[in-house]
Symmetry: C2
Subunit: 380 residues, 2 copies
């Protein structure tokens, strides 16, 4: 007998209450019943995004929403700045290049941070930049970009501020309007607690202004269709991903019942405990300004990171993530987002310390768990 | 107490066995376990599409796959022919226009059919056409385009043959390779028996040849990413819509267990019975060359079509569809696709004849059901 516990930075665990909804009989998407669902999702997503502006539901994964951010606001040849400090920063840059943008990358080493000061310098060097792309929580490294500091710099310059919060929304604070974000892309399979396949896009009035002059070809991700259908009928222009909408509706209601501030605070507490546990094991963090949705540590010298992740799953039923691309085998990522509790952190640290000890790393059994327990004790 | 039965042409009913799968604990998409799921889907979708070529799974609705058919093979300014005889033919044309194609529409009245001879004439008038777009089952009208006749004409000319089988795949025969189809777009929420949100794209070697010279910008629907990741890892390039993939895997296994030929034959039988019932009620069919996935009839003079659809649902729990756009209120559509049985046809006809009688149409109670029963009796 083995319980499998999913602690990867997306997909994340789905609460039973949300999972069950997917097994209900299918309903049609052009009905009063379903319009109610969509209306509630819009209301709650607005709240989680911190916006009173337009929000749209896309039947795609987060990458589709990233593309929508580009295709609806820009034109081929436009100069844009992309903050690149990990895999998802690179993805924004790839999308912009695929759409013929003149891309200037603001590059930091993986694990590093593109700061407001970096963005200011880049904008001074490239005053003709039309947009700045930043990844909120860079899941490939664990870093959290300080959007609240970058936003005002971008706004002052007049460029569009386009943000990927795919992995962060619902797990860390997000104030789209206050921070001056114009296009905000989010996904369903992280802190929003359902499976992958649904994305959300917040769109500011400034973004709509940019839409008017954007000449990139688009259809499935053309937000004009979404806005029109929403305003006229309270529906999506193309068929809604009904199952996933019903699920995210339920998940968002759970977030509202717990209280968004409490949800964010829970993420903070789990993050603090998991990071305290990792530190107590003598592990080194991989990134600066660490996001609360995951804990990312370097694999100690002499340890096989890929084997460690396998052992945690096969022997202890704890599914962690290793590194992607250039950090494959070099980091371990423990996600504590969405439907995650203190229990998950305890089990993750317990599996981690047992695996490390078994693989010859000098980590005292129980030390990580103890440090996490101390955090929880102090916050009872 | 009321049982609600969904008989709309998408979404359609989901078998309990498939629905349950969605409620299982979430799994990660970069695992041997999930790669097995994807491999099985690919194998079975190939079989249902009738191709030995490439097939891809998209996290989008069918419209995303339609767009992929355009964006991966053509360039702005290319001349294309679009067969337009209903809402989804119009959609192909809209997508092509959005991507800057030089669109020539081959227009028939809604309910009509674009024939091989129409396509031949159009190709003769436009020998520079790069592609021909045809909707297989035009769900807005109930017509089925004769792809087996159109395909050879297109191939002879040398244009690409790009087909929307979103609502038909799994319900009527499809022989992608034999009919010379180059891009084939399908959806999940019709005869494939899961909810909306997943799409499938078949892509021929000729389509890949066209890919090389296509200059339309693309990223989320860039099939190069899909092909590379599939060949290297047996995965999707972006996150898979895990829940929906698990479901369609189960649904495709059900189709294989029943036997694809038997599934197609079941659709034929239900279609024959439903159409016999409609004819017995004195109703007039809306379209030529009627598809087996639905029965589409004109609303008799003097009857309020919108009210009839409401009454069928509210009074009898049978969810039918009315007409879209220019035929709103003028037609009734009864879908019998996917997880549909003789019982569904009986109940649909029963509700239909009761509603018609109640609304003053001279339809003898029981006549529609009787005609359907005769079909079933003859085929026992």
């Amino acid at each position: 007998m083995k319980k499998q516990i999913l602690l990867t930075p997306g997909p994340s665990q789905v609460p039973p209450r949300v999972a069950e909804v997917a097994a209900r009989p299918m309903i049609h998407h052009r009905t009063p019943e379903f319009r109610e669902v969509l209306a509630r999702i819009h209301k709650n997503i607005r709240c989680v995004m911190g916006t009173t502006g337009d929000v749209f539901i896309l039947a795609s994964t987060g990458t589709g929403a990233l593309e929508a951010g580009v295709a609806n606001t820009l034109s081929a040849g436009d100069k844009v700045l992309c903050a690149v400090a990990g895999k998802f920063g690179e993805r924004y840059s790839e999308i912009c290049q695929a759409f013929g943008m003149n891309v200037v990358e603001i590059v930091k080493e993986w694990g590093g941070l593109v700061t407001a000061s970096d963005v200011r310098k880049a904008l001074e060097s490239h005053p003709d930049a039309k947009a700045v792309f930043v990844t909120h929580s860079e899941t490939s490294t664990g870093a959290l970009h300080p959007l609240h500091e970058i936003g005002p710099v971008v706004r002052e310059h007049g460029a569009l501020f386009i943000v990927d919060t795919v992995s962060a929304l619902g797990g860390v604070p997000m104030k789209m309007d206050e921070w001056g974000i114009d296009m905000l892309a989010a996904g369903s399979q992280k802190a929003l607690m359902i499976g992958p396949g649904l994305a959300f896009l917040g769109m500011s009035a400034r973004a709509w202004k940019a839409y008017e002059t954007s000449t990139l070809p688009k259809f499935y991700f053309d937000m004009k269709h979404y806005k029109k259908r929403w305003e006229e009928k309270g529906e999506t222009p193309f068929t809604s991903a009904v199952t996933l909408c019903l699920q995210v509706d339920e998940a968002l209601q759970m977030i509202m019942e717990e209280g968004l501030d409490n949800v964010i605070e829970r993420h903070r507490r789990l993050s603090r405990a998991c990071k305290a546990g990792a530190a107590a094991l003598g592990l080194e963090f991989y990134s600066e300004n660490r996001s609360d949705i995951e804990t990312v540590v370097r694999v100690p010298d002499g340890i096989d990171g890929v084997a460690l992740v396998s052992m945690a799953q096969e022997r202890f039923g704890i599914k962690l993530s290793g590194g992607q691309a250039q950090v494959k085998g070099k980091i371990i990522r423990i996600a504590h987002m969405g439907y995650a509790t203190e229990q998950d952190v305890i089990l993750a640290l317990s599996a981690l310390e047992m695996c490390l000890a078994r693989m010859g790393f000098d980590a005292p059994l129980g030390a990580g768990v103890k440090a996490a327990e101390e955090v929880f004790q102090n916050e009872m």
